[in-house]
Symmetry: C2
Subunit: 406 residues, 2 copies
């Protein structure tokens, strides 16, 4: 696998554009993605029972299992808690995109992100769609513009592209994502759009994505809130012209590994750019009874406000980590736990066999003064392993979220 | 029911003392509670699988269903994650208390609260136990000293006492609690000790407590963390001399209502004095499919960091409330939800039938500028009702928890 420059237009036959339509006061706020060939679709949607209108629109298309040609995304307004008019607007965004691009509205996916409960400025968005549709291009700049246009409080673009070889054919996977607040396992205000030119059966494409999100987007948390609008969309248009993947053979595995890489990369970027983040924390659990237990424990630790504030304060307060492990609902033997902190400044052991070790506070302070910190937990209780990614809880997080609407 | 002055010594035959032994650098840090007559015991312990040594000690006594005579509590050190030596120390605290008071160690309950993973200064505590044992008294001041001695970052004592009439006899219930950080449903670093002179069967005493905590301590959250040390202990010594309550008759109901009052009062005080709290928020849900659904929804709302920061910022951001309801795992129809904010400054409707109402932002701001705010949620979907209590998430919370050990 090679990591290359580019994003959502890196794979063959995908075009995009991003621009400003007025959903936000300033900055880009509207993105289009277009596939020359009809693309198979895999997707995961928020588990929140309050679902935004575009989520409902896309679920309908997903359930029909039809191919799609385009995605339209606005930022600045989530089109959530907007009732019947919200559904009409989501439909209208699809219709206008269809009209502008000469495709059926049922081939158009819709996404929105931003403030909840405010009616979309639909006329501005429809005008914007028509303007953007004439600017579609395969260029890196277009991918960049689209990645920029889906941002809300994100401070930078989140893009990646990789290539793999399948049967001697070059296959490309590209993607863009946005995150920032409300990021929590099981989909948060997090949008991720992945495009690939691989030729693969629809059922394997869906299985690959649903497996892949378990160890990527579902293993990150910024603040424990799961939003009304989250989705991950994966489109595959087959233009790489490889022999169609129809079984879980070696080629499937090569694709799945590359997809995991793309999703994990974007997921980690989302956390690293979380609201008010000053620390990026990886919690790596091994020796759990099962993979699911390892996931529960690592997620419980990165979600704990007390753990997060301790990292913000650069305090090696391992007791809070054991506490968060203990209420994760996973089973483990507290008397077998060992715990290390690792960063560029070294590695330090804090707990062995469930008991605190006399450690060098100065060395510990130096290690956790870094921005990137790994918490290694070994349970010596089985084969289960998982990693979760989170961040600290800072004054800035409180500030951003106390003043979001004002 | 009458609310009277006093705390843990208000009921007949209970004595207490509180003093300084050196577990903390300064301030009171050791409390004793003593019952003249052997008392029946009801209790609830933390669900965290990492349990502090005193929790394990008390569970053993609880399971044996023997009567108890005394409780010893230290603050400043949680005796959690302290391994075998921790268990030895918990036992030693019971033995020393037993020796000092002339009772068996199996009649002594033990509690600790404070920093995790540091060995108890057991000699200081044992000396303190002997000193305190000579100061036991029924006075209000003694109850006050005990309530003071169990505090950690609590900024004030949490005490209450009430009287009821059972068969013409005066029955008293008194209590003290401590809270502050790590407060979350299913027991958090929260200790609560209730004493009563009622004569009641052991099984009904336990049932009354386990029912009572569901709508009191288990409905509060400061930060979503469930600690290693939480417990609620209820002792009943029978000295009120009422006819023994052995069925769920009217007298049981009178007692249960008074017990609910005491527990809810203490639970709300714990939240109101949570770390860095500037707002006290009640979330009142009605019209849920079931009581359990109402509990899930109200707890999900008070636990959301995004809701909490919005209240800190005095921002009427109702979208975050709907979002938190949506991921509570309770079922409801989003299109039937109505939402009001209420405070001393009035009441305002924000959502009707799941849709935002055009509301007067100035009036809303005035209402949520108060310290005490009620969020009323009506789901129009069934008979389920519940209330949960929480607080905002402030700069001060981050500060206190970023610097706790330093």
């Amino acid at each position: 696998m090679d990591v290359i420059k580019g994003g959502v237009t890196a794979a063959k036959g995908f075009l995009s554009a991003g621009g400003h339509c007025g959903a936000k006061r300033k900055n880009k706020d509207l993105a289009l993605v277009y596939s020359n060939s009809p693309a198979k679709m895999a997707a995961t949607f928020t588990t929140n029972i309050v679902k935004a209108a575009p989520v409902l629109w896309n679920k309908k298309i997903y359930d029909s299992n039809e191919k799609v040609k385009a995605i339209v995304v606005n930022s600045g307004n989530a089109n959530a808690c907007t009732g019947k008019i919200g559904m009409i607007h989501a439909n209208q965004m699809a219709t206008e995109t269809g009209n502008a691009l000469g495709v059926n509205e049922n081939e158009v996916l819709v996404a929105s992100t931003g403030v909840i409960g405010v009616t979309l400025p639909i006329d501005k968005i429809c005008n914007g769609i028509h303007d953007l549709s004439t600017n579609l291009s395969e260029s890196e700049q277009s991918a960049n513009d689209a990645a920029n246009a889906i941002r809300t409080t994100d401070t930078y673009n989140k893009e990646i592209a990789v290539t793999i070889q399948i049967d001697g054919k070059k296959v490309t996977i590209g993607g863009m994502a946005k995150g920032s607040g409300m990021i929590h396992p099981n989909m948060a205000t997090m949008l991720s759009f992945i495009t690939t030119d691989i030729n693969i059966s629809s059922s394997l494409l869906r299985e690959a994505l649903s497996e892949s999100i378990k160890d990527s987007y579902n293993m990150i948390s910024v603040d424990g809130d799961t939003s009304t609008n989250d989705m991950v969309i994966l489109l595959a248009n087959g233009e790489a012209d490889n022999n169609k993947i129809e079984t879980k053979d070696d080629n499937y595995k090569i694709f799945k590994d590359a997809l995991d890489y793309v999703n994990t990369y974007l997921a980690k970027l989302i956390v690293a750019d979380g609201e008010g983040v000053t620390k990026f924390i990886e919690v790596s659990v091994k020796g759990a009874k099962s993979k699911e237990d390892a996931r529960l424990i690592s997620k419980s630790v990165i979600t704990s406000n007390l753990v997060k504030t301790a990292f913000f304060g650069e305090d090696a307060n391992w007791g809070r980590i054991l506490c968060a492990m203990g209420y994760s609902s996973a089973e483990f033997n507290p008397n077998k736990v060992s715990l290390h902190y690792v960063s560029n400044k070294g590695k330090i052991s804090l707990v062995e066999n469930g008991l605190p070790i006399q450690f060098d506070e100065e060395k510990a302070s130096k290690i956790i003064s870094e921005r990137d910190i790994i918490v290694e937990i070994d349970l010596e209780d089985g084969p289960g392993e998982a990693k979760a990614w989170g961040c600290d809880l800072s004054y800035e997080y409180v500030k951003i979220n106390g003043e979001y609407r004002t």
